[in-house]
Subunit: 156 residues, 2 copies
Amino acid sequence: MQEKAFQDFYPDDFSHCYGCGRLNEHGLQIKSVWDGEESVAFFTPDNRYMAMPGFVYGGLIASLIDCHCTGTAAAVSYKKEGRPMDSEPPFRFVTASLKVDFLAPTPLGSLLEIRGRVIEIKGKKVVVEAKVLAGKTLCATGTVVAVLLPPTMMSK
Amino acid sequence: MQEKAFQDFYPDDFSHCYGCGRLNEHGLQIKSVWDGEESVAFFTPDNRYMAMPGFVYGGLIASLIDCHCTGTAAAVSYKKEGRPMDSEPPFRFVTASLKVDFLAPTPLGSLLEIRGRVIEIKGKKVVVEAKVLAGKTLCATGTVVAVLLPPTMMSK
């Protein structure tokens, strides 16, 4: 089954992000879906995103974690309200803080798996933990504190 | 005075990073220099690096902080040994952890100032704190724990 990704439900105005916007032709266009209680995205970094020959630069890992987790924050908010992601009003989150621990060099050209797990939902805040794996190697872990974008900013 | 940037001293093999490699034609090619006890870099993000219209996406901020701070870690290590950055052996750092707090939306198309301050040097570890400013607005703060790349990895 070809499941529609969280990011495919973002309104057009919120689909220009370099990390996750389906309308950003230069960007990463990551796609996140549910896999049971976890969210998952896959991404294969090309040579542009090098740190040094053979390895991915840290900023890409941070970007993948950031956008996957804000997407997960949006998706879990719809889930909590029991309504589909194309219903109104849209949930859109921004990042308040991002923490990444780099555990092993991340190979270029390999399929990376980014997994997210919601660990807290409180008011306008959603905290999501993430793992980045290359095969069975855990390359990085991260935590994102996402906050709901105020409706005033959304209408701009 | 046109001061040579930290990144301009990196050996060719370490100059392919998307964030700071002078040989990565697709990358950000940030340039960091000393400004007294602090390090500083300037960068003007173009529309590619959008989060939503008018604002920079978080992954770029994380990348700027990451590369500026690992560059600062290298530069301070030469300084501590009292030798120039083109002397042997080269110091090259990788990121063990990265933390970014996003304090205000970061405008696209404006000159950003990234400032670093070394707060700890201990063994192979250098901790650098960073600020990202757009004019007088403090948009983000960050902390990077950088660790010296083992000579075995450097010779690869």
